[in-house]
């Protein structure tokens, strides 16, 4: 999505440690005009795939999932993060490591919200090492449902999570893939 690359170049900020800050339009402030276009782009990528439900993870995945859900007229479910080790039996849960925040979270979805006949599209804002997407894929598969594919708004290609999931056979679409990034330059992967 050319406009995602343009937005990153115009408004993204590179911090130390390979962190790309896009809080001005994607994950603290939301440019709703652009967010609508993101939803429509996701709908168009998966228009022939008979998706029944969109799954994301709180908090920054929610605006993207809601926008895609609006464009596709589909329900959205978001996984919750929880530090407690006390997980009840009525949820699917897995553990996800955050490299950005240097911590681990239980990721939890109530069992009633995914059924075996669901065809799930997973969306998130960032795809770097792939831990969040991998956790969400695990949860869908625990429920016996089908992972039709995943969308990340921004993939950090150099952190390899996306390519590892593609090698396993998952369909991973990213609206922009950053191949290389340093203090002065961002290079996108041709798509």
């Amino acid at each position: 999505m050319k406009k995602m690359e343009d937005k990153i170049l115009a408004e993204g900020e590179i911090l130390s440690g390979g962190v790309l800050k896009v809080g001005s339009f994607l994950n603290q402030q939301i440019d709703t005009v652009f967010m609508k276009e993101i939803g429509e782009e996701i709908a168009s990528l998966y228009k022939d795939d008979e998706i029944t439900k969109i799954l994301t993870i709180e908090a920054s995945g929610i605006p993207i999932a809601v926008s895609a859900g609006f464009a596709m007229n589909l329900p959205v479910v978001y996984a919750k993060k929880n530090k407690s080790s006390n997980i009840s039996g009525d949820v699917y849960s897995t553990v996800v490591q955050s490299f950005t925040h240097g911590n681990k979270n239980n990721v939890i979805v109530n069992k009633e919200f995914i059924s075996p006949d669901d065809r799930i599209l997973i969306v998130d804002d960032f795809l770097a090492h792939g831990s969040a997407l991998t956790g969400l894929i695990e949860i869908v598969e625990m429920a016996g449902a089908t992972v039709v594919g995943c969308v990340a708004a921004i993939e950090k290609g150099f952190q390899m999570g996306g390519d590892r999931l593609r090698e396993k056979g998952y369909r991973i679409e990213s609206l922009a893939i950053i191949e290389e990034m340093d203090d002065t330059e961002i290079v996108f992967r041709e798509q």
Copy 2:
């Protein structure tokens, strides 16, 4: 909003301790068709108020804020919750107590996302004791911006937070106000 009351009666679940579970349509699974109507209702309530930005708090306020932002063509900002006591100078922050979760969180908004000339609409999913809304109001006022009003999808009238804020002069609109609630019955306030 009659449809909010109907949804609560049809799909809400009352748990012990006065907890109303609406995870099937509002705050874990999102009924996007209904969520669009929520956004349009909020837009219509504040259509003459020259709002410049919508503010909410992660995570369950985000779908409502995004839907209202879509309907009003306005940017959305969400406050982040953070347990750390180490807050940097480039954010507005306050402390919010959660009665549901029995904990306290710092609530943080990056200073660059609220300016003194902003006219802010605050939205959230629940209004009970009013601590989250009060925290968000404080943040807007720290920034020197104007709180035009607040919207809660569901207000628990018997927990008084909404009425306390109204007495202070804030415009608080709730799409449904629960006046009384026990294991078998929910009574709504006439609006």
